[in-house]
């Protein structure tokens, strides 16, 4: 439409790096505070993707398995406005196999439900939800004009009033809480128990990442990027449950996984906890080419 003019902007990469250990999904933050790892996009890199990959390996010594672009947004530059310009922030979701971090690492892993306690339903509906919903409803009632619309939105996103809980609506729930001013990021100064706040909009980015991952595991075999070489089917299930924040139905889970030829037996077994020793499986890498295209399924059928 127009030729490119002289507008320039900061370009910054922000990474949501996820690992699962001890049945908890975790996100990497900087040791210094509640900040997602991020840095400038340097010109040496071929692509954004490779730039981020290299940069993470360099700085954290964690090799990234799966890497996916999340979203790009622009804000008025928060930092010093030498140029008075924009900051363009490109966010990525990366999956990592957590290992003992190098001692000198500047990073630390936090369970992601510390930031979103209402998102974990593995032990049933958190008691907190009732409180959250009543606060939201009070806020909605004060919004004359579209009270009904807001109330329905609350009911749908939080699964109240006959609606069932949809684990994918992480971002929608976050935004509702944000709009209602219930989060520290949106002006609430009191202690609300509504999760740990993060720097700037990083918690929103994390919500986007969680939502994307929860959606992905249902139709692409990405969970395996979070698993060790070999694993039992229960470990795999626990990992999916950790991500989805739900408990699943064991027999059906196993069948669905095996039906799809996603895994193959290693021939070995594990008997760490009491109980019958479990067969160990490994991911069939060959499936990746096939399924990246034709799609695969993980069940989110409740227990």
């Amino acid at each position: 439409m127009e030729s490119v003019t002289g507008y320039f902007a900061h370009a910054e990469l922000t990474a949501v790096l996820v690992a699962v250990t001890g049945d908890q999904p975790r996100v990497m933050t900087l040791r210094k505070g509640e900040v997602l790892p991020s840095g400038p996009f340097e010109m040496g890199h071929r692509t954004l993707q490779s730039g981020l990959r290299e940069w993470v390996r360099e700085k954290t010594a964690y090799p990234i398995g799966y890497l996916e672009q999340l979203y790009t947004f622009a804000d008025r530059d928060r930092g010093a406005g030498a140029h008075g310009g924009r900051r363009i922030s490109i966010s990525y979701l990366g999956l990592v196999r957590e290992r003992s971090a190098p001692a000198e690492a500047q990073t630390v892993w936090h369970g992601w439900y510390e930031y979103f306690p209402w998102e974990d339903r593995r032990l049933g509906r958190p008691a907190q939800i009732a409180d959250i919903c009543s606060k939201l409803e009070v806020w909605a009632a004060a919004n004359s004009g579209h009270v009904d619309e807001l109330l329905r939105r609350i009911a749908l996103t939080f699964g109240t009033g006959g609606n069932r809980w949809n684990e994918d609506l992480v971002l929608q729930r976050y935004e509702l809480l944000y709009e209602a001013g219930l989060l520290a990021e949106s002006g609430n100064t009191g202690e609300t128990g509504l999760g740990r706040p993060m720097f700037a909009d990083h918690r929103r980015i994390l919500a986007t990442g969680i939502a994307r991952l929860r959606a992905q595991i249902k139709y692409r075999p990405v969970v395996f990027e979070l698993m060790p070489e070999s694993f039992t089917l229960l470990r795999l299930q626990r990992t999916v449950e950790a991500l989805a924040g739900l408990t699943l139905h064991k027999p059906n889970f196993r069948r669905l996984i095996e039906q799809q030829d996603l895994v193959e037996e290693t021939g070995e077994t594990e008997s760490e906890n009491a109980g019958r020793p479990a067969k160990l499986f490994r991911f069939r890498h060959a499936i990746l080419e096939e399924r990246a295209l034709s799609g695969s399924k993980l069940p989110i059928s409740r227990n």
Copy 2:
């Protein structure tokens, strides 16, 4: 990880604007050539989204209904490198109700199957596909080392050898053709009949947009952004078919739409073509709040 340093980049917005008329999905290009409308991101705008929306309204007089971010990528600045920097290109998919364009408009609509003739299966499998596949197979055979992998990839993306056609794999098919050097963009100089090339990587961006839209119509009611106020169910079906590049099964299509309460009768009928007059419907806007969250379905069940 590091404080933001002095890296700056061009930030550019590129729009894939789609409309459907006369059973053809169309994409807006500049009158001057095979170029998607794009322009610099200016600092006045609140957000990227609103910036693009405003800019399109200003320049083309088409109000955008649905707008969704597609992808962000960075290339070494193709334009003059006054700063020797990067160009960051943020692409969007926008849905538009096509009307007669203002006379002075700099834009023109092109059927998207001019760019991707192999993507339209409404008249059955295009004869061309056989030719494409054999060319691809010749190329694959010359790639010692992973011939088998390539052959399987070809079979999967193009639905040969027992695999069924998956309409969502638009980008994967484009990339395969690109890698094989069969497209003008990747060095083929002869006339191949493999669709009309576009400026720079714009055809790739279009492929991304088509793929996204084809995926979206299956679980979100976005088609309606392309429809006039009121329409018959057959018009709606033809529109979905145009987008998906497939023909659908009429009775099932109608049932699925009506079951979901996506539409309501206007009470009027239309009898333009010969045949029994059809009831006119309108989209139930109320459903948007409900379904943007809970998901809806359009059938892609073949005729």
